[in-house]
């Protein structure tokens, strides 16, 4: 149900783009209007969400410490997993964001004849890393469509990405890796019982959407070619704010573009915001130095306490009898 809903939602989106362009001839709507709206939603939505998080303070210094603390000079601190300085935090965050450090720790807990065993479980980490990095490289590769002259670093990336020198046009490894990784991420949601149990439609939908985007892109590049010069004209028109709709760009391009627009517009409303959120996570981005330097809670307020005076009033006689010093005899 959750899976089918998400699957058919993506199919429906593709059909809308197909019908819109092929039957209703709404090239301008799908090639210009919707992309502008989607980008606006993405940027404004993303900023809104981050500001919203930012508007809530971090009242306490609550890093999750994953190694030895800073204490006595002769005890070796784990400066990355339990950082007490800003530089340690930067390295910890960089490892987290770039290499998914915490996910790398993953273990598989199994019960065998009453005994718990902990096995390696690196596939999720590997697939996650492969997916995110190939997505990023593909994203960067697409810049050639938005720049009059393709910068050399993009050419370098393209060269590396296609170094296998297979096929015409040359096969990009990231295309394969992305499709493979997303497929794995989908399959584990279906087949690992616990993961299946926790998965929502909101988990399947972005997977299908990205799968749709990637496959339409692959189909366009390798099989069902579109008018590439036209695509670049359209893209350049969008970025220079003088939109044009060139003739004869294939419908597959519009499907690809519409799915991307959906992803952009959906992004700020969804869990995909983990992209921004990971930077703000207080259990990761704070130094563990709360005994060395006082952390301020902006909404700290005075509270009722049972004072010593009240306590002594309750127990003065008993204290005196026991020989415990008191303030008032």
């Amino acid at each position: 149900m959750r899976i089918l809903f998400s699957f058919f939602a993506v199919i429906a989106l593709a059909l809308i783009a197909y019908a819109g362009v092929k039957i209703a001839n709404l090239q301008f709507l799908f090639g210009v209007v919707i992309p502008y709206i989607a980008i606006a939603i993405f940027i404004l939505g993303f900023i809104y969400r981050v500001l919203k998080w930012g508007s809530s303070p971090v009242p306490f210094r609550i890093p999750t410490t994953c190694g030895q603390q800073e204490s006595l000079s002769w005890i070796k601190q784990n400066k990355i997993e339990n950082p007490s300085s800003a530089s340690g935090v930067v390295i910890r965050m960089a490892l987290e964001v770039l290499l998914f450090r915490s996910l790398f720790r993953n273990l598989k807990t199994q019960l065998k004849e009453g005994k718990l065993v902990y096995g390696e479980a690196k596939w999720l980490w590997l697939a996650g890393l492969a997916f995110h990095w190939s997505f990023l490289i593909i994203f960067v590769r697409h810049f050639r469509f938005f720049l009059q002259n393709t910068p050399s670093f993009i050419k370098t990336i393209e060269g590396l990405d296609s170094f296998l020198q297979v096929g015409v046009p040359l096969l990009y490894m990231t295309d394969i890796v992305l499709l493979g990784a997303v497929t794995y991420l989908f399959l584990r949601r279906v087949f690992i019982p616990q993961v299946n149990y926790i998965s929502l439609a909101a988990d399947y939908f972005p997977l299908f959407l990205i799968l749709g985007i990637a496959s339409s892109g692959v189909v366009m590049r390798y099989f069902y070619k579109v008018h590439i010069v036209g695509v670049k004209e359209l893209a350049m028109g969008l970025v220079t704010l003088s939109p044009v709709i060139p003739q004869g760009v294939g419908v597959m391009f519009y499907i690809h573009l519409f799915l991307i627009c959906t992803l952009l517009a959906y992004f700020p409303l969804s869990k995909l915001m983990h992209m921004g959120g990971v930077f703000l996570s207080p259990t990761r981005n704070m130094a563990n130095n709360s005994r060395r330097a006082r952390h301020i809670n902006p909404w700290n307020y005075p509270v009722h306490i049972h004072t010593y005076e009240e306590y002594e009033n309750d127990f003065r006689e008993k204290m005196k009898k026991a020989g415990i010093p008191v303030e008032k005899e």
Binding site: K52, P59, T64, C66, Y197, S290, K318
Partner: protein
């Protein structure tokens, strides 16, 4: 009342991790006997001025909720979203990758899918989505949103009192989402409706009025400690005279009251007394700030602050220079990550310097409170203690890192260094079960009530399993730790899952090994059990 928990370990360890066919939203909560604690009594909540104080029972249909309970919860969520970035963020960014799922000791020991941290969080997230996000308001269930009904509230209660805020999930989460943080918020919300458990509310009320969870009155504390002094004299021949509420002492010593009350915590307490005596430390106990632990922390941020405030207040009144804290887990999460923020700045104290070694505890220079394991490790490193580790030769020791000190502080090597110096046989449990990946005792956050025994045994299953491993492999017979709740609960856990393994605090082992000036030849350890090889001479 409930039938007594009688299930055998064999039965309990028959676990099926396969989730049921029905989706979790369609599977209402079922209150199983021996897996939840009694509801908070009205009188305990009244003492601390908490709202909706009344007697109620979780097992009964009618929870006697205020009419506008829904509104109270939703307002409570709204307020907390605006006060805690952690909550807002953790409600929003989970991708449900499932990396946390099999990391929770309650899931490992129960197989109940709602004990997977991700799903425990979704219990609250689903409410958040329904009332605080556009997609949840529009799409409802398809967006993972659901109405806040009475059944949902009960489910929240049941599972938020099946989480010990151990933070193990947070170690493995790619975004550091910390279920402890979410559970803390969830429990705050439940407390707005008077839905605490009495095993927490009772100690909180005690601590508020009498200074400690156990409700020990000043003279009782003194008597209790004097009782230990007699035992110490029996073992060492040395008379110790500690002071109470003494103004002008250099150091205030604060430890969880559990150390004053029951075995084996009491032996740890004897350890402190002997160590401080041997050093000639100018320190005092306080009967007012007689609790290092903080069950308020399992109730609400505000309640935790109210209880914690006594430590600085007492340090100020007595005019001490700095504070040493005893062995306790959540106490140190609180002292380390919260105390200064709540009740500081402690500008009336001085930066801690060990009067014995001259070491400056730079890492505690703002909070001015030093962990006793840091203090003792420094003593040993500087050769200030005469130790005879062979007195612990009858023990094969393993080390249990407590959740809070491991993942909310990182005090890992200090106690190990001490341990290696005071005993000759020390064996680590498997690395996946220690340090930052350590497993909870299963009874933390105030869940150590006897009516909750099945849950506790399930929750401690993973910990016990690792202990059993070193017991069978190396003959380990002692599980050492720096946590009062561990000392109070691991004993029962070991009896159940790994018989023949006893439990000790670090400073019990220190004191066993400590060669004191003018002591008689020791023939007994602190438990008054004969030392091996010395029995004959008796």
């Amino acid at each position: 009342m409930a039938t007594k928990f009688t299930a055998k370990p064999d039965e309990l360890s028959k676990l099926d991790y396969k989730p049921p066919k029905k989706g979790w939203m369609d599977n209402p909560v079922e209150f199983k006997e021996n897996t939840f604690c009694w509801g908070a009594k009205g009188k305990n909540l009244k003492i601390i001025d908490f709202p909706n104080a009344r007697d109620w029972s979780p097992a009964e249909e009618d929870w006697k909720l205020p009419e506008n309970w829904q509104e109270i919860v939703l307002e409570g969520i709204k307020e907390r979203l605006s006060k805690y970035r952690s909550l807002r963020l953790f409600m929003d960014i989970c991708v449900r990758c499932g990396a946390c799922a099999d990391k929770c000791h309650f899931f490992i020991g129960s197989g109940d899918p709602k004990n997977m941290p991700v799903l425990r969080a979704e219990l609250l997230r689903s409410i958040y989505r329904r009332y605080f996000t556009a997609s949840g308001k529009m799409l409802g269930k398809i967006a993972g949103a659901r109405e806040l009904t009475i059944d949902v509230l009960k489910e929240l209660w049941y599972y938020y009192y099946q989480c010990t805020e151990c933070r193990r999930c947070s170690v493995f989460c790619p975004y550091g989402i910390d279920q402890a943080e979410i559970t803390m918020m969830g429990r705050e919300l439940l407390n707005l409706l008077g839905l605490n458990i009495d095993w927490i509310a009772g100690p909180v009320a005690n601590c508020y009025m009498k200074g400690n969870h156990l409700g020990l009155e000043p003279h009782t504390i003194k008597n209790g400690i004097e009782f230990f002094l007699d035992d110490i004299e029996t073992v060492t021949g040395i008379k110790i005279k500690p002071t109470f509420n003494r103004k002008g002492a250099e150091i205030l010593f604060v430890t969880p009251s559990g150390d004053l009350f029951a075995d084996p915590g009491t032996y740890t307490c004897m350890g402190y007394l002997m160590l401080f005596h041997e050093l000639g430390l100018d320190y005092t106990w306080s009967t007012y700030a007689s609790e290092g632990g903080n069950f308020g922390f399992f109730t609400s941020n505000e309640m935790a602050k109210r209880l914690n405030a006594k430590i600085y207040a007492e340090a100020k009144r007595l005019g001490v220079k700095w504070i040493i804290g005893g062995e306790c887990g959540h106490m140190w999460r609180v002292v380390h990550q919260y105390m200064d923020t709540w009740n500081g700045p402690a500008d009336f104290l001085e930066e801690p310097v060990s009067p014995i070694t001259g070491t400056k505890f730079e890492n505690a220079k703002s909070t001015k409170m030093v962990h006793i394991a840091e203090f003792t490790a420094d003593l040993i490193k500087n050769g200030k203690l005469k130790l005879d580790p062979s007195r612990n030769d009858h023990l094969k020791v393993t080390w249990h890192d407590s959740c809070n000190t491991a993942r909310g502080m990182g005090i890992l090597e200090e106690p190990r260094y001490v341990l290696r110096n005071v005993c000759n046989h020390f064996y680590e449990m498997p690395e996946e079960t220690i340090r930052e990946r350590t497993f909870c005792c299963g009874s933390g956050t105030g869940l150590n009530a006897s009516e909750n025994m099945e849950l506790r045994m399930r929750g401690g299953f993973a910990r016990a399993n690792a202990v059993k491993y070193v017991r069978d492999r190396y003959g380990v017979n002692m599980l050492a730790n720096i946590c009062a709740i561990d000392r109070a609960t691991l004993k029962a856990l070991m009896e159940y899952w790994a018989p023949d393994v006893q439990v000790a605090g670090l400073h019990e082992l220190v004191a066993n090994a400590l060669v004191m000036k003018g002591e008689k030849e020791r023939t007994q350890d602190l438990r008054l059990e004969p030392l091996p090889g010395k029995e004959a001479k008796e």
